[in-house]
């Protein structure tokens, strides 16, 4: 079990879920894969299928149309799976929070289907790639706590 957990810390496969974003956060996520930041040296790889994902990178405010799809995607992912709310819109709704089509920020939408979901918040509009790497480091620290408890 602990071997698998230490493996998980060294190899986080991420799946990119764009929930009606303005694309700024998405561009910053793609920055992470470029030679300048190159997150593959930490084993972080962008995968094409949600079944392979260890982390969902969710960007954008979650509107009514996209909310059931986000919940379905979370249920389809193989657990353990961490959710990253990337950008102010995903964290809190930002200035869309009183909008008519707002269906709750990411954490509320995810916790409707799984109250125990692990959610990492990366605020910023858009957050810097360094901020996202710091978020990943904190998520890894959380996994360490998980191991210590067992």
């Amino acid at each position: 079990m602990s071997l698998g957990l230490s493996g998980l810390k060294k190899s986080i496969w991420v799946y990119h879920v764009a929930c009606s974003p303005c694309n700024n956060c998405d561009i910053e996520i793609l920055d992470l894969l470029t030679p300048r930041f190159d997150v593959e040296r930490f084993g972080i790889v962008l995968v094409g299928s949600v079944r392979h994902a260890d982390a969902l990178l969710v960007t954008g405010m979650v509107n009514r149309q996209v909310k059931p799809r986000l919940q379905e995607l979370y249920l389809q992912a193989a657990k353990p799976c961490v959710v990253f709310a990337i950008g102010s819109c995903a964290v809190s709704g930002n200035f869309f929070r009183r909008s008519y089509n707002m269906a709750g920020p990411v954490d509320r939408a995810i916790k409707e289907v799984d109250p125990n979901a692990i959610i990492v918040y990366v605020p910023g509009c858009p957050p810097k790639p360094e901020a996202m790497i710091s978020g990943v480091v904190k998520a890894i620290g959380f996994l360490d706590n998980l191991k210590a408890k067992k």
Binding site: M1, S11, P35, R41, G43, R51, H52, A78
Partner: protein, 306 residues
């Protein structure tokens, strides 16, 4: 002894470790080509260890038995291929008549299992991937068989041991015009068998998600990753055995063997990094027209004695 060969030394355990290290080499060279730093050496081991603790959700529309059996059969078939090639290289007499043909069938099994598993998963994108894999499979097997026939007719035997003994006595088959052409054909066919980039049409990430592997996760996906790693180890050994005198484990021969192995891996990686993905019809045309004609030229040159 057979179980030791199959499970430990040239077979499963050894091939898996060397295969995962080779897959790391492939990723590292790719990263350096793209001006990145690349993952550490234990990256692929961490990936597989992680996949073992993940959940394995089976889709509702899937045929459960075939869906979960396919990765297991693919893994055992690839380990068997590695064991047969390794055993033939260690001891030329530890073979049987016609084991090259058996090896060819066993090397075909992982592709067939990928097709079966993908079609059993009930996902439309997976089934598109399965149909592409099948087309590509039909495409590359024909030139591969003709390239193998060049070697078989030259040696006059279908045994791996006889092929190795012939090359030890008369020099490697690669050192002749027909040998070079047949070797090039075999390299490109194995590139397609491994699903590396110009021929990664079935699992094209940008159009099909992960294509054939889309519904797989956890240990089942880990089995497929191990299968790919073992095949990545087996393919260069297969080419070296057929065309370049095999692997000698005595004295300095081991260094020469490692050099040959790394050379072929670097060749696979560079082909993968310098080519864009083909469309499926382009790939099938490439194999059935260009590669088949090239392989037939090799066969004719061989029969003329070149």
């Amino acid at each position: 002894m057979a179980f030791f060969y199959y499970l430990i030394f040239p077979g499963f355990a050894f091939a898996a470790i060397v295969g995962l290290l080779t897959a790391w080499f492939d990723r590292k060279v790719t990263a350096r080509v793209q001006w990145r730093k690349g993952p550490p050496w234990y990256q692929n081991f961490a990936d597989v260890a992680k996949l073992l603790i993940k959940e394995v959700p089976v889709p509702e529309t899937a045929n459960k038995g075939i869906f979960l059996l396919a990765p297991a059969v693919a893994l055992s078939a690839s380990a068997m291929a590695a064991a047969m090639l390794g055993a033939a290289n260690i001891n030329w007499d530890y073979t049987f008549t016609g084991d090259l043909l058996v090896l060819w069938y066993i090397l075909a099994l992982p592709s067939i299992m990928i097709i079966l598993g993908a079609s059993a998963s009930g996902n439309p994108l997976s089934s598109v991937g399965a149909s592409r894999e099948m087309n590509q499979f039909v495409g590359y097997e024909l030139p591969l068989v003709i390239a193998m026939a060049t070697v078989v007719f030259k040696v006059g035997s279908v045994g791996l041991g006889d092929i190795l003994r012939f090359q030890a006595e008369n020099g490697p088959i690669l050192y002749s015009a027909s040998g070079i052409i047949a070797c090039i054909v075999a390299i490109l066919c194995l590139q397609a068998k491994l699903g590396l980039v110009p021929f990664d049409i079935p699992e094209a990430e940008t159009e099909l998600g992960a294509g054939t592997f889309m519904e797989y996760s956890g240990a089942a996906l880990g089995a497929f990753k191990l299968t790919k790693a073992i095949l990545l180890y087996t393919s260069p050994i297969f080419i070296i055995t057929l065309f370049w005198g095999g692997i000698q484990v005595k004295g300095l021969g081991i260094l020469w063997a490692i050099l040959k192995y790394v050379l072929f891996i670097a060749l696979f990686t560079l082909i993968r990094n310098t080519n864009p993905r083909l469309r499926i019809d382009q790939a099938v045309r490439f194999f059935w027209v260009n590669m088949t004609i090239l392989a037939l030229i090799a066969l004719v040159l061989m029969s003329l004695g070149y």
